[in-house]
């Protein structure tokens, strides 16, 4: 049943050429409209020849390689508030939230990762109650503040991850050079037992250990931007749930 794509393309082209002369005839006989032509005539638009996979966009596990982006998670730049906020535009609130004392006090609490969900819910309930008639406006300011803080922290982490990746690349190059040098110097027992050689070897081993530990830490570091985005979304959802 399997038809090689190449053969199909040739057949398709042949059908296309044949169809060009046959179709009007069939139409003249009142058989069928061209669009309802039998499948054996093949498609008017042929399949292209097999193409390699196109570079994959962000949001996909096969993201295009970026030497400065070491994470499996796709790199997503700054967050946009509309991804987590369906209320009124936030432009003004983003400018003014710091002027509101209650908002400015609560923002650091709700964006802290140590704040537990039940504590968050209690803080938001108290804040909403205290805001009284101004509840919607105050909650909007609160989200604007939380969003800005999280976005800023997140951007700093993104920059940090890229710096981290560059450092790892430099370190890996250094380990390579150290190993090559040690290999070329490892001529006889006397050299290998010399304090200089052993010191170099120890240095290479330390660098390797640092490299390995940093690589392992990367798994956690890479999760950070995603965790912050999730937190921003959760805050948006919780805050909007308290608005009328």
């Amino acid at each position: 049943m399997t038809i090689p794509l190449r053969r199909l393309t040739a057949a398709t082209l042949a059908a296309l050429l044949a169809g060009a002369s046959l179709a009007p005839q069939a139409f003249a006989q009142g058989a069928q409209a061209p669009s309802a032509a039998p499948a054996s005539d093949g498609p008017k638009t042929p399949l292209p020849a097999p193409t390699p996979r196109a570079p994959q966009p962000g949001g996909d596990r096969r993201a295009a390689p970026d030497p400065d982006w070491p994470c499996i998670q796709p790199k997503v730049g700054a967050l946009s508030y509309g991804q987590m906020w369906s209320g009124a535009p936030l432009e003004q609130a983003l400018e003014t939230w710091r002027q509101d004392e209650a908002v400015a006090d609560l923002v650091p609490v709700i964006v802290a990762r140590r704040t537990k969900p039940e504590e968050l819910a209690a803080e938001l309930d108290t804040f909403a109650k205290a805001a009284g008639a101004e509840k919607n406006a105050k909650l909007t300011l609160l989200f604007a503040g939380a969003f800005e803080e999280l976005n800023t922290t997140r951007s700093a982490i993104l920059t940090g991850i890229e710096r981290y990746a560059r450092k790892q690349r430099t370190l890996s190059e250094k380990i390579k050079q150290e190993s090559l040098k040690l290999a070329s110097e490892r001529k006889d027992m006397a050299t290998q037992n010399s304090p200089e050689f052993q010191q170099k070897e120890q240095e290479r081993d330390w660098d390797t250990r640092i490299y390995d530990e940093r690589s392992q830490a990367l798994t956690y570091v890479c999760e950070s931007p995603v965790i912050l985005e999730q937190l921003a979304f959760t805050l948006g959802r919780e805050i909007q749930a308290r608005m009328d």
């Binding site: 499948a39 193409t51 987590m84």
Partner: protein
């Protein structure tokens, strides 16, 4: 059944009685009244969450094969089909007992599939193989393979079962396949990375979402012409975050819902005027959509917030979110 266990071993009669009572209880539960269940495939957990439609609580988490993605149900709602992409097969579960009934061959890396409206056969997109595999769900036999474009994914079938539409992500085409001959009738070029194809119930429109292109092409299946290309604009959301994926159209054909990926929104669209009525804020990276059997609700799978959102279709309001497994991918609801 499991509560209040008697301290002593009961007599044989008592055990028989309790067994028959249990059977009666099961039968009572199988009744049609408000017994809706939602099955959600969790791509990263290799599980399927079962959500009770009445209480909206997860009642069971079923371990599946690796990387479950596409999910659908038989027309009678008794069987649940799941693509387990990394195990290269389709798994079939009993929707009442939640047990694995059998597995079907799928070809490599099955991602999405669609059942013929009659319930057989199953049309499967093989992401790594540039093929659509057709499988008889009763005999488990592969009936045919249709070569398509690169990275086939979206699968839609016309209500009369005569036309299958497959989309290929890299080739950026919607392939119209005649199900009588299993041959491609026409290829329609759409925008970049088409993900899902969905027919309107009157067979007059096929909606094809393009994730990277950020558009939905509405195609007339009779002429294979794109009659409308929908674009989306949401205040406060960057254009890159708008990535259309899941599409569902109500049975009356009037309203389409389009999941917009990392925009975390679902667009509500009038299928006649193509006016976008609303952008509902659901969960993070909203991926696929499913209606409840009576279409009173729409369920959305939110891959990054690890939950499903429940949308009230009549009022176009998001009423609740339910946490499921990690990276929920697809959902199906059965009565």
């Amino acid at each position: 059944m499991t509560t209040d266990a008697p301290p002593r071993r009961p007599s044989r009669t008592a055990r028989l009685l309790s067994a028959s009572a249990a059977a009666a209880a099961l039968l009572a539960f199988a009744g049609p009244a408000s017994a809706e269940k939602i099955f959600v495939s969790n791509e990263r957990d290799h599980t399927m969450s079962v959500v009770d439609g009445a209480t909206l609580k997860v009642v069971e988490t079923i371990k599946t094969g690796r990387r479950p993605r596409g999910i659908t149900a038989s027309p009678d709602g008794k069987l649940i089909y799941v693509c387990t992409s990394d195990d290269n097969r389709v798994e079939v579960y009993d929707s009442a007992t939640h047990k694995l009934v059998k597995t079907l061959p799928s070809g490599p890396d099955p991602e999405l599939f669609v059942l013929h409206p009659s319930g057989n056969p199953l049309y499967i997109a093989n992401e790594d193989d540039n093929m659509v595999t057709i499988v008889d769900v009763n005999t488990g036999q592969k009936l045919a393979e249709v070569p398509v474009g690169v990275e086939p994914e979206g699968m839609g079938i016309s209500p009369d079962g005569k036309t299958l539409v497959n989309t290929s992500e890299t080739t950026s085409m919607a392939h119209f396949i005649d199900t009588a001959t299993n041959q491609i009738v026409e290829n329609v070029v759409v925008d970049s990375r088409p993900r899902v194809a969905e027919f309107r119930s009157d067979n007059k429109q096929v909606w094809v979402s393009a994730e990277v292109g950020g558009t939905v092409s509405v195609i007339d299946p009779a002429t294979h012409q794109i009659v409308k290309k929908l674009t989306f604009e949401i205040p406060g959301v960057t254009a890159e975050a708008i990535q259309p994926v899941g599409v569902k159209i109500t049975k009356d054909g009037k309203t389409a819902f389009v999941a917009l990926g990392p925009a975390n929104r679902v667009a509500v669209v009038d299928t006649e005027t193509f006016a976008i009525k609303k952008y509902l804020l659901v969960g993070q990276r909203v991926w696929q959509l499913a209606f409840s059997p009576d279409e009173s609700r729409l369920y959305t799978t939110n891959g990054n917030s690890n939950d499903i959102s429940i949308v009230d279709v009549a009022s176009d309001k998001v009423t609740k979110s339910v946490t499921v497994g990690r990276s929920p991918w697809g959902a199906v609801a059965v009565p």
